[in-house]
């Protein structure tokens, strides 16, 4: 409530019949209603919080979270604080002693291999270094077996590599931008942020490809969907219903079935190629490559997402009375002018809604590119899935996902600035 309600002066706010400020009585009388409304949505709210918001927040947090290093190697992290990789020399004995102590504790708790995998994302080879050292360090006696520097290097020459120490020091803070840098093909080097080696740069390309392909898919959906939506909105009810069923049919068919059908159609020994060869348009030796590339992904996803373009377009076109076109023609406009100057501008909200819907679904699409995309036609989401389920580098997956989310929000914002979001109508 605002300050005005607490101000009971004679020149103050409007008062209700019993002398209480009007705003307060209004709020009181509405409170019950608001509570009831809240109760009604509470089950859904809780469900969404638990199953959607919380997991997403947790995953996004993982993109910067890096407590594993300081938790597993607390003494080493402290000891490394004064060491500088730029000096070009290995850390001194106290650091190795701290490492030995930390590793012993970690081996006992069986957490050293997890740390190894974590650091391996940044510097490959560290995983085996930790696993190998863990076996021996566990048997050392901390009081008598020193000094440890030579003993470590004896186990594995890796401990004599400044790069390994550099990695441990770089990733000792509790939070790190490392995953995000990795997600845009950068890395933290000795001299700060630097580009990755040319053969390791894959994410920027993948992001750009995802963006480009999503735009292409959106454009193809619009080109194919616009006339269909127009027909739907202008045919007689009985014919329109049949057409509507045809549009909705894909919704009732499993996505996997539809994508597999495309595999059958598009592959080199598939239906389309067989037909072309049989007609004689294509030689048997030069069968077209239509799948496991960008063409296949764009084609299959255009098909899958077409209804998401047609339905918003249709619902907007349905509200454009035919009298506008008639009026334009009676005023002397040819069919094309009447369409372009009068009908099209009024269908723009539908185009906006359909395009946003298709584009946002497309940019995060996973199943279809996974099945028909091969290596050239996969999206960033396939890479995210790889990191979540195969490489188990969740931090990187989360960083990629966060970038994707921000990119979509940015595009949404740009759309709002250019076209205006209140120009979007879903019906």
């Amino acid at each position: 409530m605002s300050d005005i309600t607490r101000n009971d002066g004679p020149t103050g706010p409007m008062l209700a019949a019993d002398g209480t400020p009007l705003k307060r009585s209004l709020a009181r009388s509405l409170r019950r209603q608001k509570l009831r409304a809240l109760m009604l949505i509470a089950p859904l709210l809780v469900f969404v919080l638990v199953t959607f918001i919380a997991p997403i927040a947790d995953m996004l947090f993982r993109s910067v979270e890096n407590q594993i290093v300081s938790e597993t190697l607390p003494e080493t992290v402290l000891a490394l604080r004064d060491w500088d990789a730029k000096a070009g020399s290995l850390p001194e004995e106290p650091v190795f002693a701290a490492l030995a102590a930390d590793l012993q504790a970690a081996v006992a708790a069986k957490t050293h291999t997890r740390l190894g995998s974590r650091l391996n994302y940044e510097n490959s080879g560290i995983s085996s270094l930790f696993r190998k050292s863990g076996r021996d360090v566990g048997k050392w006696d901390m009081t008598t077996d020193g000094p440890f520097r030579e003993k470590f290097i004896e186990i594995d020459k890796g401990w004599g590599d400044i790069g390994v120490w550099q990695t441990i020091k770089t990733y000792s803070p509790r939070y790190t931008p490392g995953y995000f840098l990795n997600a845009v093909d950068l890395a933290k080097g000795v001299d700060g942020i630097e580009a990755r080696a040319a053969n390791e740069r894959i994410y920027i390309t993948l992001f750009l490809r995802t963006l480009w392909m999503s735009l292409t898919i959106t454009a193809s959906c619009l080109i194919l969907g616009y006339p269909v939506a127009w027909l739907l909105a202008n045919l007689r009810a009985s014919s329109a219903n049949v057409l509507m069923i045809l549009v909705l049919l894909p919704f009732w068919t499993s996505l996997l079935v539809r994508t597999s059908a495309w595999k059958v159609l598009l592959q080199q020994q598939g239906v389309i190629n067989d037909l072309l060869v049989w007609i004689g348009l294509v030689g048997d030796a030069n069968r077209l490559v239509m799948i496991n590339n960008q063409f296949g992904t764009i084609l299959a996803m255009t098909h899958v997402l077409l209804p998401f373009m047609i339905l918003p377009l249709y619902s907007v076109m349905k509200t454009i009375p035919p009298s506008y076109l008639r009026a334009a023609k009676s005023l002397g406009a040819t069919d094309w002018t009447a369409f372009w100057r009068v009908y099209f501008p009024q269908s723009v909200p539908g185009i906006g809604a359909g395009s946003i819907l298709v584009f946002i679904i497309a940019i995060g699409y996973y199943i279809t590119p996974e099945l028909v995309g091969g290596t050239k036609g996969v999206f960033i989401s396939n890479r995210i899935a790889f990191h979540i389920s195969s490489s188990l580098n969740w931090g990187l997956g989360a960083a990629l996902g966060a970038i994707l989310l921000v990119a979509v929000l940015l595009l949404y914002w740009a759309y709002d600035k250019i076209v205006g979001i209140d120009n979007v109508k879903l019906g």
Partner: protein
Amino acid sequence: MTENARTADAAFVEFAHVQKSYDGETLVVKDLNLDIGKGEFLTMLGPSGSGKTTCLMMLAGFETATHGEIRLGGRPINNIPPYKRGIGMVFQNYALFPHMTVAENLAFPLEVRHIGRTEREAKVARALDMVQMGAFGGRRPAQLSGGQQQRVALARALVFEPELVLMDEPLGALDKQLREHMQFEIKRIADNLGITVVYVTHDQTEALTMSDRVAVFDDGRIQQLAPPDVLYEEPENSFVAQFIGENNTLVGVVREINDGVALVELDDGELIDAKPVNVTRPGERTRVSIRPERVEFNKARLQPGAHTLKAEVLEFIYMGDIFRTRLRVAGNDDFIVKTRNAPDQRRMQPGEQIEIGWLPTDCRALDA
């Protein structure tokens, strides 16, 4: 009839044996023949589904005639697309383009005709001034009231100076007062510009106030084509008599026809005099039609020997300018009489028994 008096070459718009069917089974318009003179204000009046809007759409070019020919200025236009016909049109819902301002809406027909910018602006300003909307050029249609939108729609249909303007129930969405005001406004503008107007409505008051001639449509045919006064006072058949204005009907059989007066025996046995309109011989069943304001209580004003009827007053309604009395006459419980609220006028009480009569010329014997 009036249109027979016009010579064929004077007709500006001609419908010649026009038929229209949507489904190939039923005719929506059955053999329409209609000549509209230059500068005439002709109204197509009829209930919904009577074919009047279809006729208008055929003239505008949005529907094609299934049979027959439509001519504009002597030229057949059946195969000319709407945008080449140069006919102005005002739509029922105005059809103002919502994404353009009022001025842009008006400039649209001039732009597609490739008229230069300065001339365009001058014409738009003149058209807006004509409908007193000069100050609203920059507004969007959604920011205007219904009456203002109506004016803009009218200006847009006139701005490219068509000789023929079609109006499809343009006042249907306005409230009563505004509608009456706009009726005069449209009529005034049409007269000033000397344009030909074909106006479609189902509101008979509108048709009577505005038109030079009214074509009453029913069942795909023109039932009567006449100036408003003729239409009201001399309806040619029962449908027109019922549809135009308020009307009392008594059903009976023609007994004799002498010197332009028919003696009709009503179903309850009473005899009345009527003017035979489309009854020709004794024995024919007929509907006798009499306007509520032509019923007479005062015997002194009736012709000597005129037949009178007994009536019982059922209801008396005070309506300010007139009194409306409901009577039971010859078994008809819905016989209405309207009398002027004059100082000497009697106010009848329900239950009162009275006698009523009329001049035989006011009482028309029509088809049953």
